[in-house]
Amino acid sequence: MAPSSGRRAPSAAELEDRKTVNINKETVSNTVSDDYPDNFVNEEHAWDNEEFRRAFQVQFHQNDQFEAQFSLIGVDASIANAFRRIMIAEIPTLAIETVFVNNNTSVIQDEVLAHRLGLIPFTGGKKGLREFMGFWRKPGPDEDAYATTYDTNTVSLKLAAKCTRKKDAPKDARDPLVLYDNAHIYARDIVFEPLGGQAKWFSGEDTIRPVNPDILIAKMRPNQEIDIEMHMHKGFGWDHAKYSPVATASYRLMPKISILRPILGADAEKFAACFMPGVIGLERVTKQEAKKTGSGYEGHEGELKAVVKDAMRDTVSREALRHPEFEGKVKLGRRKDHFIFSVESTGQWDSDELFMESTKMLKKKCGVLRPQVTNMVQTF
């Protein structure tokens, strides 16, 4: 960025255009930011912490334990995407990794059973999970199978059940659950066995348990038996999807609907129907508006007009662009720097925690990158 002579301030409209992704009928335009986002030729956009702090906002729309929606305003897509990617793949969680099958006579084969178990999300004392539990290393070929297994990196679980006939079952019963004990094996049947220091961190409220106790693992019939032990380890989503702490984490851009020329009467109602309920409101044209010449409202006093009420609810179905009567009357777009995140946790962490974890993780990564960048600059 060489300082240039003809430095000029961009107009408000220009600024708005820059911040807008255009939703056209068949294409999306102005999507790309260059290598230096928010920097433009002949303009001064040097990094300014204060400026960033002023422009940057976080708004929470919903913050439930396992589902959160919030807006990140004033960052570039690359930053928002980094958070999303980190949440999916780089926040460690605990999941079943090794299954020791002592006996399995159910119809579910060992590998399939192990696979199913791996996908069950577990939770437990957060502090313990975060601070006490570390990462497990796979033992080398010459090492003992348990050489790297400690209470600080392995959680041991047990599942033992045998299906038997219920003695007192009614004669005419057909439902296996009525006829047999242990006909269905659920996640709740998995028993946590604390090792070493784990009892301190994971007991009572904090015991390690499946998030959803009703996940069906297997079905059995009399005399079938499952007797297995499981080891849980910490892992990353990039290794296997079972370690991903989120069911999904994604974002969308804030929709922007601009009504360029008035949409009135029946058209207005049709226009409203083109969007999800609540996006477009219908209001009566006021006297003042009708008086104003050139507004398009002249002589339409009292008629219904379409107004944008809540653009955030829009799903960008572009239905309005499909109908010829709205041609030229509406412009759709999305705010480039307003990211509406939706984070759905699988249960080990609360969804807002996950976002905080992701910022921590990003910071950590930057910490790794920083000396390397400095190094690079020095070498050249």
Partner: protein, 1152 residues
Amino acid sequence: MPFIDDGFEALTKPFYNGKKLTDPISAVEDKNQLLPAFLKVKGLVKQHIDSYNYFVDHEIKEIVRANRIVKSDVDSSFWVEFLDIRVESPESVGQNGSTTNPKVTPQECRLRDATYSARILIDVAYTRERQKIIRRNVELARMPVMLRSNKCHLYGANNAKMEIMNECPLDPGGYFIVRGTEKVILIQEQLSKNRVIIETDDKNNIITASVTSSTHERKSKTYVTLKKERINLQHNVLSEPIPIVIILKALGGLTDFEIMQLVTGSDARYQDDFEINFSEAVVAEVFTQQQALEYIGARVKMGMKGRPARGGPPQPRRNLIEEGLDALANIVIAHIPVEGLDFHPKAIYVAMMTRRVLMVRHNPKLVDDRDFVGNKRFELAGQLLSLLFEDLFKNFLSSLKFNIENTLKKQHRAIPADPLLQIGAQGKHITEGLNRAIQTGNWTVQRFRMNRAGVTHVLSRLSYIAALGMMTRISSQFEKTRKVSGPRALQASQWGMLCPSDTPEGEACGLVKNLALMTHITTDADETPIKRWAFTLDPPAEPLRNFSGAEMHKKGTFIVHINGTPFALTRFPKKFAANFRTVRRRGWISPFVSVNVNENLSAVHIATDEGRICRPYIIVKNGKPRIKETQLRMLQAEKITFDDFLRNGVVEYLDANEENDTLIAGTEKDITKATTHLEIEPFTLLGAVAGLIPFPHHNQSPRNTYQCAMGKQAIGAIAYNQFNRIDTLLLTMVYPQRPMVISKTIELIHYDKLPAGQNATVVVMSYSGYDIEDALVLNKASLDRGFGRAQVFKKYAADLQRYPNGSRERIGDKDPELEKNKALSKDGLADVGWMVESGQVMIKKESPQDTVTSNIGMERRAEAFRETPISYKAADPAYIDKVMITQTDRETQLIKVQTRQTRRPEIGDKFSSRHGQKGVVGIIVDQEDLPFSDAGIVPDIIMNPHGFPSRMTVGKLLECLTGKASIIKGRRDYGYGDAFRSHPLEEMSAELVGAGFSWEGKDYFTSGITGEPLQAYIFNGPIYYQRLKHMVQDKMHSRSRGPRAILTRQPTEGRSRDGGLRLGEMERDCLVAYGASQLLLERLMTSSDAVTLDVCQRCGLFGSKGYCNTCRSSQQVAKMTMPYAAKLLVQELVSMNVGVRLQLEDEFPHPR
């Protein structure tokens, strides 16, 4: 049924699709409910079963009745009579003949490598020392039993019973189990028998009328040929063509006038053409019947003369007249019986053939089309088995007779001759013959000189659809190599009878066909009552006997044929046919008897024979379909069945010939005054396999054909008992899903209960460049979560042999020292659950080293054994899934070990949608790198859009859109993609818009890599994807060093032999053209079969160890390297006395 124990029973009910008893019914809209009702009583596999049942219940009795008595030529007082025959239900039998399991299940036979067969019992009466003895329930032989036939234990079993028998209730049945393998007798397509077919040879100006006569005794073909103005009759038994007038004279001594009338009637044109033939007779000096018979008798081939009936004494020589009479009566056009030397019917028949030849001469349009479906007959298991059984039974009788006579010949017998012993001994040949034919597929029937190979096939259990598809398959007798397009082309008359889509690609294209959903193949019906009906109708047909030739061929007079044989006359063909149909619709005669009027030939044809292909239609009268709402109500309430619709004249079967007399409306709105029938449901023109395709009517037709081939390779659920089976290769999917978009056919064939695929969220866009040429991009997280996960089961079996000297193979003890025995348990068999790696032993079999010496007397057998283990060979490890120890019906011990691999999709594995769009996995991408939609949807599969324009699979787009709309609110009723039905696409769009998606299915996506929006809207939604059986793991192969062939010392060929990768001719050409001589040398010699040899420069022969044996010197012996194959060639040439000398030259001569 008070309790429905699982979901699918509800589906077998006619009203399955969410229709409740209280819902309103419209006769026109809900007429398709007849389809499930039809499939309940007929259709798909039922034809095999019906055919088998007919054979076992009726035909077998007919065969025995026709050959019931065996008399001895030695002792005239001796006879054996077979009173009755019947087939029992299957039971298993030990070696000594004792019943070990009176109710053997098919599953037991599969596992024990046994034959699912039942006893054939006979009641026999015979004389012993002038006493009449009747023995009942004597075992004659054993008959393989078709699954789900009325002899099978599965017949009429409900689901609970099927479960007890370890059998899948959805298994179609209709096949046999012989020695543990499931064998299907494919439907055989043939040209119809006993019908005249006219063909022309335009090149030589020949017109031929031919007829293949088929009776129980023999099969032969007769030709009436018009060549160079003259008409001759040709037959294999006659050494040369016989002028037609001579034949007609021989057949009952007709006068010339009568002959002329019989052939031409009063038509002057035909008379002019035919006249010349009389001179032929004059030239041959044949004027009387006597002369004619002599003329013919002299030309009967010698080989046929005096041929004794099998086993009978040689017959005395006969004179020429007798020869001629015999040939005409019994061999030429044998299907017209000659009773009491009354040749008149046969004369009429020959005259009719002649007349048709003359007609074609004047009107070439009257030539028959061989490919017309009405001229075809379809042979099913029952018919083929009856041919075979009759042959075997006749052989049995003659050997029975031979053996008994041998005993009777002995003057002083210690015990009286008892045929019972012989019946048991000779009956074994019947058992063996039946088993062998089904097992090998070689159908040999001596009396027809029939020798067909490949009649049976192993039932493909790759997927449920593969098995079902096999049951509807029809193989044609045409040669695959011949390059004629006619038999392969889609014939217009195949409409509704044969599936237009389901045929293989390549050499068998169009020759192997499949039945459509509603077709039925007829079984035989008796002619005589039909004839009687014809004479009693109003106006009645009048017997042909009463008329002269002139009357027969008068204009407006129609000859009534039954199964191609003329037997009556009528003046009112239309009315006759209409009345005849009424009789049929009232249920007074078999519904499968067809009648049609042929205006061109002035003939009415009635057909009652077996193997005709037909299909039900709703009858329309005066522009109104006969079907009524009340009837559908009754059907819904299960008060009536499909057969009641037949009996009430609502529905009738039409065969391909009768269809020509009708005007069939496709839909109700097409009905006009002239309409005679209404289609029950248009999509039934497709078969079961093509029925899986959603929106097939929107696809380019070859795509549907491709899907038909691929649907059979899809991995999915095979049967409910799939984990109880031990097949050579079994592929199952871990989490199969019911397709989001289904069709009525899918419900009817229960594909939704045994699906083969998963609903993938597909995004149509380009990604990463690893998606070119139909490659797919897969989401790694989806794979982690189980998408496309499949299991591969393989069988390893060991049959412990017993040798005549009493030694037997055994399972050895485990030697724990050896690494390869790691997977073995103490008993020498692999442990269930254990992982086996390449080279590890699974069955530690040991064979005796001495299998000859017996331990009797002085001989002592060595008790040494050598190891002959069954070990695991594949490179990738597997788990032991099952170990089974049992006994075969030969009472040898049988051990089967099944291994299991669970495979997640990897790069190179093949996937396909249901629209003939196959592709391999090109890259597997992390979830975070994939594009995501506003709602957070991440695709399972990314498909490249270039797959669409050239393939034109619009059905796939519709499947995607429909599927997407149906999952929004879980509307199952939206998820239907039936062929030829209107589809509420606008509703789907509205549903999408209502849920905030774009109306056309294209949504806004964000790149997962940059985080920025994609610049186009992306078409996305659920599409059903099938994982196909072709997996990289089974195919990948490389080699640096490895085994070589013994003879040529070149590397072996093929993956299974760890072979080399061939640098072929074309690759060689490239290197030659490029001039890469050193690379050529390396590839073709050094890396292949280079050998260093000593060559003598003086004599040019090979030496050894630096010494030439020919020249007795080592002076000029040089070393050279050459391909071993070249050395071999030289030596082989020398061995056949072709001298070869090698002349060596320095490549870089020494400068002098």
